[in-house]
């Protein structure tokens, strides 16, 4: 994160909330994720206008409207390219990207790989409920193969995507898992992700009470990760592949240098100015 804490102010979580009331279903985990995000921003203590919240499409992607930060509610699966553009042009801003498992791992899956690989200094928060909630309950890339529903009787039979391991393989510099029903630990996880340089990926298990009422049981399955985070991506990947999917906390903290664009001198700068004259002025 490049934005500097404002030592003259003591921001509270409410300072990062907008006047818009969320329209998620009552009981949705995304309410508490929003609370955790605003609490994390208060802990970071940078002015709201120094953070940009970017999203794609889906229930959780409504988050930018509910914050008092700058926001960009983009198109389906394209939150990470938008955020990449914002970070490249305004590297001093704190860039948060938020969305769901359908948006991020299916239509946005390719961008997820390359955002991890590029390792720009931003934080990607995925609220994973293992279902497409906004479009009424289709299986998503993280849905278990035997999830039986009216729309997919008997389940898909397809093995789920493993986002944490894929992020590690692609080069993400920070990987963690949270649970929406544990707002304080989720707040701490987001704070750590924002402060860690490079591409930080935080998956938050966030139950969909409407289409996946079975996920209420997650509260009883969650447990803190029993080991300290490692700097070894291969070791972290092995741990994550063999865990039960419900251990929460920081799982990997890498030391790759974040990608920084070239300084904008010389021919590149001339070319950029020429493009600005043609397309922006």
């Amino acid at each position: 994160m490049n934005a500097e804490p404002d030592t003259t102010c003591n921001f509270k979580a409410a300072d990062y909330r907008s006047d818009y009331k969320p329209v998620w279903c009552p009981g949705c985990g995304d309410f508490t994720v929003l609370l955790s995000i605003t609490k994390a921003l208060a802990e970071i203590n940078t002015p709201p206008e120094e953070t940009v919240v970017v999203s794609g499409i889906g229930c959780s992607s409504r988050i930018p409207a509910y914050t008092n930060c700058y926001g960009f509610h983009g198109v389906h699966g394209r939150a990470l390219p938008l955020a990449t553009g914002i970070k490249l042009t305004r590297p001093e801003l704190n860039v948060l990207v938020a969305g769901g498992d359908g948006d991020g791992y299916s239509i946005g899956g390719n961008h997820f790989l390359h955002a991890s690989r590029r390792n720009l200094d931003m934080t990607y928060i995925v609220m994973d409920n293992q279902v497409y909630g906004m479009t009424k309950g289709q299986p998503s890339p993280t849905t278990l193969p035997d999830w039986d529903s009216a729309l997919v009787p008997g389940g898909t039979g397809i093995r789920p995507f493993h986002p944490l391991v894929i992020a590690l393989a692609a080069g993400a510099n920070f990987v963690g898992r949270g649970f929406s029903g544990d707002p304080n630990r989720t707040r701490d996880l987001i704070v750590e992700a924002i402060r860690h340089p490079g591409f930080s990926f935080v998956e938050i298990l966030s139950p969909c009470v409407t289409f996946r009422p079975d996920e209420k049981e997650w509260r009883n399955m969650i447990h803190p990760a029993e080991v300290d985070p490692t700097q070894d991506a291969a070791r972290a990947a092995r741990r994550i592949l063999t865990d039960d999917g419900f251990n929460i906390g920081v799982l990997f903290k890498g030391d790759r240098e974040p990608y920084l664009p070239r300084s904008g001198n010389g021919e590149d700068a001339d070319a950029i100015r020429a493009m600005e004259r043609e397309f922006v002025a």
Binding site: P26, C28, N184
Partner: protein, 171 residues
């Protein structure tokens, strides 16, 4: 309480109490928003009212901390349980719940809060901190009585309160 004495134990207790009340207020505001989103204004208003009450308690505790020369900063706690001792899990609500259900949740939370303060009193080695914890436990006991009285003024829900004639999807 003698506010000239500033043992760390009292400050720590006040900070825990402050964190608990702030979390409870945040939680009730959040539940209120959820109920407004679900077009259930009766329950939303109850949660909003409870949030205001918890917020006033937090202000009162913050005032005590300031009187002791401390602020509430550093009052962010990660409890042993995922939720604070006076908070409700989002999954425990239902969009068709009634005021009766909301007050039952509040009653449960007030009882937990009273137990929490009694537990702190038991753990306290310093007499004034113990007295303060018991004072707060007593206040929570009063809230239990208030909520119980409130419950007598609302109707018990019908057996089929959760039936939705137009559910989101047939699962």
């Amino acid at each position: 309480m003698n506010e000239q004495v500033k043992p760390d134990e009292i400050v720590e207790l006040l900070r825990q109490a402050y964190a608990m009340e702030v979390e409870a207020a945040d939680c009730y505001y959040d539940l209120s928003d959820q109920m407004f989103a679900g077009n259930n204004p009766d329950v939303a208003n109850i949660f909003s009212h409870l949030a205001d009450i918890e917020g006033r308690h937090a202000d009162e505790i913050e005032g005590r901390l300031k009187a002791l020369g401390h602020n509430a900063a550093g009052g962010s706690y990660s409890w042993d349980d995922p939720l604070g001792p006076e908070s409700t899990a989002s999954e425990d609500i239902h969009y068709l719940m009634t005021p009766y259900h909301a007050l039952q949740l509040a009653l449960h939370n007030e009882k937990r809060a009273a137990e929490f303060f009694r537990m702190l009193a038991d753990k306290s080695s310093e007499a004034e901190a113990r007295a303060l914890a018991l004072e707060y436990a007593g206040e929570e006991d009063e809230h239990v009585k208030l909520v119980e009285e409130w419950l007598t003024r609302v109707d018990e829900p019908a057996v089929d309160w959760h039936d939705d004639e137009d559910p989101a999807v047939g699962q």
